[in-house]
């Protein structure tokens, strides 16, 4: 190994309860993968490699939420061996779709799915990584956006603040030149309260945003809900629309509870 190789920063990718999609995003960077592999040492990435480079790691990307006692232990280890820890995707930043258990009785959930739920070791709640250990940066999305992932990695390499703004999807929607589906089609859209990053994908496909990047920096869900009701959404519809991939993010939780209270 040359001296240059030795000094390459070490990247690790970790998985907790998740669908693998966010770490797959890294392998989906077809044009950047080989340059990336020569810029950083991919020291731990089980999905892609059997090689296990020793820690500590300069940058750990963590996918998935914490749902088992063992994982609660394991994430502490990951934090210890990581200089920077960046969580990627709604599971890791908000508990993910599996956090819907938080609104139910997880024992009952287990009983629905498994004949012998007593074999299942699981926590009552699906928690984001930041609920267990300090996190240096959270990259949102279900799944994360490829360009944003590259931006976070290059920003960490360059020592700058990642350009991952907290504003609404509408900013990207307008920049992209989409027609507003909410105004022009009467389609309910969570874009005004959802953080940008996807490039305003859904409106580009004539669909309302369903909030997969979680809440913006200052979401006014009360005002949006009033408008969504005018567009014909019922309170149970509103509860469901906020309870998907980022259900336990505080503003979405409040918005769903508000609708539930009114229901």
């Amino acid at each position: 190994m040359s001296a240059a190789e030795k000094s390459r920063p070490k990247l690790a990718v970790w998985k907790f309860a998740s669908c693998d999609g966010c770490q797959l995003t890294l392998l989906d960077c077809e044009d950047e993968l080989l340059p990336l592999a020569s810029t950083v040492e991919i020291a731990y990435f089980l999905e892609a490699s059997s090689a296990i480079g020793p820690g500590p790691y300069d940058l750990s990307l963590v996918e998935g939420s914490i749902t088992t006692p063992q994982d609660a232990e394991r994430i502490r280890h990951v934090r210890r061996v990581s200089r920077r820890l960046v969580t990627i995707g709604a599971c890791a930043t908000a508990g993910g779709i599996q956090a819907l258990r938080d609104f139910a009785d997880v024992r009952e959930f287990a009983a629905v799915v498994y004949a012998r739920p007593d074999y299942i070791a699981t926590l009552e709640r699906s928690k984001p990584i930041s609920a267990h250990v300090p996190v240096d940066f959270e990259l949102r999305g279900c799944p994360i956006d490829k360009r944003q992932l590259l931006e976070v990695i290059t920003a960490f390499l360059a020592g700058r603040r990642p350009v991952v703004p907290g504003h609404s999807v509408c900013v990207e929607c307008k920049a992209r030149g989409n027609i507003c589906v909410l105004v022009a089609h009467g389609t309910p859209c969570l874009g005004p309260v959802t953080q940008a990053g996807c490039g305003a994908l859904c409106p580009a496909f004539n669909r309302g945003c369903y909030g997969c990047f979680g809440p913006t920096e200052t979401p006014n869900t009360r005002a949006l809900n009033a408008q969504l009701r005018r567009l014909g959404m019922s309170d149970p519809d509103l509860v469901r629309v906020y309870r998907t991939f980022n259900a336990t993010e505080e503003p979405f939780l409040q918005a769903s509870e508000e609708a539930e209270g009114d229901a």
């Binding site: 290059t154 022009a184 309260v193 009033a226 408008q227």
Partner: protein, 357 residues
């Protein structure tokens, strides 16, 4: 100024195309009349109209065959004068290179008087001050502006109040008034290159009947304005009303979503971002549309000057209608009504201003 009559727009579109312009004009797409590339008169929205209300836009269809029988499109000239993102410089190793920005030759067909006023406002921002932007000037130079005098103002328009319409009086290369029975187009020439285009196509001179009919179109339009703003003394009274209780009221309805600023044809705020490649060898700096409704916009020393939605709405409205005069000598608002139509919760600036006053 030459005034001529065309029977059809087809030759005009052809002449523009053959003169090297990409023609961008009104066209039905995704349930709205967009400004999109058109290749023939058949792409124009014949018989299509629109109904615009606060937070609501719907197409209507009729059989009058008029191709400009609608009000402001969601798109303005801004996308062409100030593209949503432009790369400014590239830094490679030790060299800082200025990136040559594109200045595509585009003919914008169907801009309204308010849109022309908006272009003039942007001219002051980007070309008028102490630091003129040469790329902006090149882009502007490459734009051929074909205005259309409004026949049916939208439900959210108020250009008469702002003194910007409905008739286009300056700033165009050509200005069209669509006339009915018989269907024809009165074309005024506003520039030398406008005249050169007209010379390329079959036309006959306008008669006084044509000219009167066109006057009538603009007169009727002016009388059917959807909304109005009392701008008298607004430069003083609006900033002075910074503690009006109405701000809290509107803030409760405002999403801080930025739509009003994004659709506004004059809003020019931008931010600059660095993108590095993986090796760290090449950096690109680009400028992109930003909005005073975002939190980062006013970030100083780890906090945000305008952290409340109230302050951000107040900044927007006050800047647009009042402090813009202090900075650029004109109003920032041209009365096109886009911010009213495209606000998802239907906040109406004219109503807010009336309440604040």
């Amino acid at each position: 100024m030459d005034v001529v009559v065309l029977q059809s727009l087809e030759p005009l579109i052809e002449a523009l195309t053959s003169s090297g312009y990409t023609v961008v004009g009104p066209r039905v797409e995704d349930g709205a009349i967009r400004m999109a590339e058109i290749s023939s008169g058949a792409d124009l929205p014949a018989g299509v109209g629109d109904v615009q209300k606060p937070g609501r836009y719907r197409l209507t269809s009729g059989d009058d065959g008029m191709v400009f029988g609608f009000a402001a499109s969601p798109d303005s000239a801004k996308r062409y004068t100030q593209p949503p993102r432009q790369t400014l410089v590239r830094v490679r190793d030790e060299a800082i290179e200025e990136v040559e920005q594109e200045a595509p030759r585009v003919a914008l067909l169907g801009l309204r008087a308010c849109d022309l006023a908006a272009v003039a406002v942007q001219d002051r921002v980007f070309a008028g001050g102490r630091h003129p932007d040469p790329a902006y000037l090149r882009r502007r130079e490459a734009l051929f502006l074909v205005a259309v005098n409004c026949a049916v103002p939208g439900g959210t328009c108020f250009c008469v109040s702002m003194g910007t319409g409905p008739k286009a009086v300056a700033g165009f290369d050509l200005a069209i008034t669509e006339l009915a029975s018989p269907h024809r187009f009165l074309v005024e020439t506003g520039s030398e290159r406008g005249g050169e285009i007209v010379a390329l196509i079959p036309h006959h001179p306008a008669t006084s009947v044509d000219i009167d009919a066109a006057e009538e179109v603009s007169r009727t339009a002016a009388s059917r304005m959807g909304r109005q703003v009392d701008t008298d003394g607004i430069q003083e009274w609006l900033p002075a009303a910074h503690d009006s209780p109405r701000w809290a009221d509107v803030a409760s309805r405002c999403l801080s979503c930025t739509n009003c600023t994004m659709v506004c044809p004059t809003c020019f705020c931008s931010t600059v971002e660095d993108v590095t490649d993986l090796t760290g060898q090449v950096t690109e700096r680009s400028e992109r549309w930003d909005s005073c409704f975002t939190l980062d916009f006013s970030e100083v020393s780890g906090s945000h000057v305008r952290s409340s939605g109230l302050a951000r709405y107040r900044q927007w409205l006050t800047h647009k209608f009042a402090t813009w005069y202090d900075q650029f000598g004109t109003s920032g608002c041209v009365g096109c009504g886009r911010c009213i139509t495209w606000c998802p919760t239907g906040i109406d600036v004219t109503e807010e201003l009336a309440c604040i006053r």
